[in-house]
């Protein structure tokens, strides 16, 4: 019993963090107070970071915690503290016809995306895989992606200036 658990320890850990991610994502959507949603989203992002690590991608796992859970969610919490955020009262309206249509379209979405994702990964995965930081960096700074990488720095600069201009109070 214990031996099988140890032999499949990465699967056990994966399913634990997958369940945590799904449950906290449900809390994000089901919660009416945005601050609680933000904290649940931080839990989702950290569990996803563990999933990235289990998939053999330590660089992305660290980026997920530093950039997403660290920077972006702190920005969200700053805005939530800055604004006068209340619990939302009104629930989405709509008659039964709208609800039936929504559920049907949602089922179509699940079937479409699910069939594409599972059909794409039917073949066995590649045996060897090394996604440690030096290898990712070597590809990132190779001629294929170097210009895209430089272009994102311009995007960040534009977003910086745009955010300052937009959030500046009117004179």
């Amino acid at each position: 019993m214990l031996d099988t658990i140890i032999a499949h320890s990465d699967q056990v850990v994966f399913y634990f963090f997958a369940a945590t991610a799904l449950l906290s994502a449900l809390v994000v959507v089901g919660q009416r107070h945005p601050t609680y949603s933000a904290f649940a989203l931080i839990v989702t992002l950290c569990s996803l970071s563990a999933v990235f690590g289990l998939l053999g991608s330590p660089f992305i796992a660290v980026l997920q915690v530093v950039v997403y859970a660290g920077a972006i969610m702190v920005l969200f919490l700053f805005v939530l503290m800055l604004l006068n955020v209340k619990r939302e009262e009104r629930v989405a309206g709509g008659g039964w016809a709208l609800k039936v249509t929504a559920f049907a379209l949602g089922a179509v979405l699940v079937v479409q995306v699910g069939s594409v994702l599972t059909a794409a990964a039917r073949a066995p995965a590649a045996p060897g895989f090394n996604a440690s930081t030096p290898y990712v960096a070597r590809l990132l700074f190779s001629p294929t992606y170097l210009y895209v990488f430089e272009a994102t720095s311009i995007l960040i600069l534009a977003a910086l200036v745009g955010a300052v201009v937009l959030a500046k109070s009117d004179p």
């Binding site: 990465d10 699967q11 994966f14 399913y15 997958a18 799904l22 994502a25 994000v28 959507v29 919660q31 945005p34 933000a38 989203l41 989702t44 992002l45 996803l48 990235f52 998939l55 053999g56 991608s57 660089f59 992305i60 980026l63 997403y68 972006i72 920005l75 969200f76 805005v79 800055l82 604004l83 955020v85 009104r90 989405a92 929504a102 949602g106 979405l109 699940v110 995306v113 699910g114 994702l117 599972t118 794409a120 990964a121 995965a125 590649a126 045996p127 895989f129 996604a131 990712v136 590809l139 992606y145 994102t152 995007l155 960040i156 977003a159 910086l160 745009g162 955010a163 937009l166 959030a167």
Partner: protein
């Protein structure tokens, strides 16, 4: 330990689940900040699919794409939250239906 080779399909299913939860949240919630957080959730589901496919193919291009998605998400969060602050100052509400200031 196989380095996650047998976790590709469960990871893709997890990605599907997170994406659908994000879509449901975008349609269900009325607070624009919660809607924005659900968008981030969907971006993360796509990132997970990228990482899983990168593991499946054994190439690193998926990892680089996740890096770019992360960068664009950071820029989008900065500009989007600035727009939300400006809109809240203008209309004094955070309801999505009242955020039609950018409509021409």
């Amino acid at each position: 330990m196989t380095g996650g080779a047998d976790l590709v399909t469960p990871a893709l299913l997890l990605s599907l689940g997170l994406f659908v939860i994000g879509v449901v949240g975008v349609f269900l919630r009325r607070n624009i900040i919660t809607v924005f957080m659900c968008l981030e959730l969907m971006l993360n589901a796509v990132n997970l699919a990228f990482v899983a496919f990168s593991r499946w193919r054994g190439t690193l291009d998926g990892q680089v794409l996740v890096f770019f998605v992360l960068t664009v998400a950071a820029a989008e969060a900065a500009v989007g939250l600035a727009i939300i602050i400006a809109g809240q100052r203008h209309k004094d509400t955070l309801d999505v239906d009242s955020f039609n200031l950018l409509k021409w």
